[in-house]
């Protein structure tokens, strides 16, 4: 585990991932912290959802050109689509969500597989995650 807090869930290996990770004091991991998490572990990670060229990413930062660009470390997000979030902005072939998003899923390399869409939602959000209102 590179960062954050590792938790023994009491599950056997056959039950799936045996660890989960959040940041200090339960805060979501940053994208760089999630990238350093043990492969297969469950993580809660916050970042900015942006899709460019058909690939859905959770980015550490949002570079403020227009349309914006993914900045810093990125996770490729699978298991959800951009349409699972709201409201979505689109310009050219880039789509993004304004508010920072917190996702839960399993991490494998640079891929975050989101299995559970029912983690709650923020203001007007769809089901893809919860708005991190600190970023608003």
């Amino acid at each position: 585990m590179g960062c954050g807090t590792e938790t023994d869930t009491g599950l056997s290996p056959d039950d799936g991932p045996a660890t989960s990770a959040t940041g200090d004091q339960g805060r979501p991991l940053t994208v760089p912290e999630a990238l350093a998490a043990d492969p297969g572990s469950q993580v809660t990670v916050a970042g900015t959802i942006i899709q460019a060229g058909g690939e859905l990413l959770l980015a550490e930062l949002l570079a403020e050109s227009f349309p914006p660009q993914a900045g810093g470390a990125v996770l490729v997000v699978v298991g959800v689509t951009i349409d699972d979030f709201a409201p979505v902005n689109t310009e050219g072939d880039t789509s993004w969500v304004d508010a920072s998003q917190t996702l839960q899923g399993s991490i494998e390399g640079e891929t975050l597989t989101v299995a559970d869409l029912g983690t709650g939602s923020g203001s007007g959000s769809g089901s893809g995650g919860s708005n991190d209102t600190e970023g608003d």
Binding site: T48, E55, L61, A63, G71, D98, A99, S100, D136
Partner: protein, 331 residues
């Protein structure tokens, strides 16, 4: 904090590389810090702010043009132009229901109506054509008659798309744009600079670059420019940061919007603040006003991430040296 120049700080360009470094041309020792504010009396007025002002490490003065080598010492008499409309007179178009990703709490930006006046005319709307032909918006600011500082991701796109990644194809530079009014026309550039830390490594701590205009289109001679400086952590933590740029959520990148706040915090290569920004404002000058002169302390690049602050690439000593070298190479 001493920043050692590394390979990531090395300059790269889509044209000829330059290697010479330029000795600083001015050393400023601050005794106070100032914020740009509007007075509502038809003139721009500079108000003093208290602050320890422990002194700049380095600083290069700006100029309001059209002179080519204007130094900071005479700028103060030029940037108080009689008859200027001020930000206080500008229109306000704040939509309270909108809480975009980088607008922190209520939107505090104000539209600049007199973009033809100094200092607003040094800030430029950018229309960027990427390598794959896609169109982008950004902001840049003059640091000399022919050279504009901007975000690295405005000149070199680091996406995952191989057709897009690389130096952009061209950038149309539009100084002081106000809607459909282009008071200084525009210039098309195909000559750019950044550093290896950005172009090779996509490291957000090195996200800055420059745009070079052709000698025949040295629009900075008409607009003037602002200075830039590398300051200590203590100084940066005590100053007001001014930011003016072209956000896409206000006038689709064709209107200039301004806001100022105290610097929240700094790291070795970034400056953090709660100035509201939006896509299109990347490349905006984040500047202080000292003794009536404007000095960029950073180049705006990022909206809020895990922490609820927007950020600029800090003009530290290596960045200062690169900006100075780029400016010197294209006089």
């Amino acid at each position: 904090m001493t920043i050692i120049k590394t390979r990531a700080d090395e300059s790269v360009s889509n044209g000829d590389l330059i290697s010479e470094e330029v000795e600083e041309t001015d050393v400023s020792h601050g005794s106070d810090d100032r914020i740009e504010r509007s007075a509502g009396n038809g003139r721009e007025r500079i108000l003093d702010e208290s602050g320890p002002g422990d002194g700049a490490l380095t600083g290069v003065g700006g100029g309001s043009g059209p002179r080519a080598a204007l130094e900071a010492s005479i700028v103060s008499s030029l940037d108080v132009d009689v008859g200027l409309r001020t930000a206080a007179e500008a229109s306000f178009d704040i939509a309270p229901a909108i809480t975009p990703e980088s607008v922190i709490d209520d939107d505090g930006r104000r539209q600049i109506a007199n973009t033809y006046a100094y200092p607003w005319r040094v800030h430029c709307s950018l229309r960027i054509i990427a390598r794959d032909g896609s169109a982008w918006l950004g902001t840049a600011f003059f640091i000399s008659p022919r050279v504009l500082a901007t975000a690295g991701h405005n000149v070199f796109i680091n996406g995952r798309d191989p057709d897009r990644r690389g130096w952009v194809r061209n950038i149309e530079v539009i100084p002081g744009r106000d809607g459909n009014e282009l008071p200084f026309g525009s210039a098309l550039s195909t000559r750019f600079y950044s550093v290896r830390g950005w172009a090779d490594d996509a490291n957000t701590e090195f996200d800055y670059g420059a745009i070079v205009l052709d000698p025949s289109e040295a629009l900075g001679n008409s607009t003037g420019w602002i200075g830039f400086g590398a300051y200590s952590d203590a100084t940066l933590r005590s100053v007001w940061a001014n930011l003016s740029g072209y956000p896409s959520d206000r006038g689709r990148g064709r209107e200039q919007w301004y806001m100022a706040r105290r610097v929240d915090s700094v790291s070795a290569r970034k400056v953090f603040y709660d100035i509201d920004t939006f896509g299109g404002q990347s490349g905006s000058a984040v500047y202080r006003i000292k003794d009536g002169s404007r000095y960029a302390i950073g180049i705006h690049a990022y909206g809020v991430g895990a922490r609820p602050l927007n950020s600029a690439t800090r003009i530290n000593r290596p960045a200062f040296d690169n900006l100075s070298a780029w400016k010197q190479a294209h006089q």
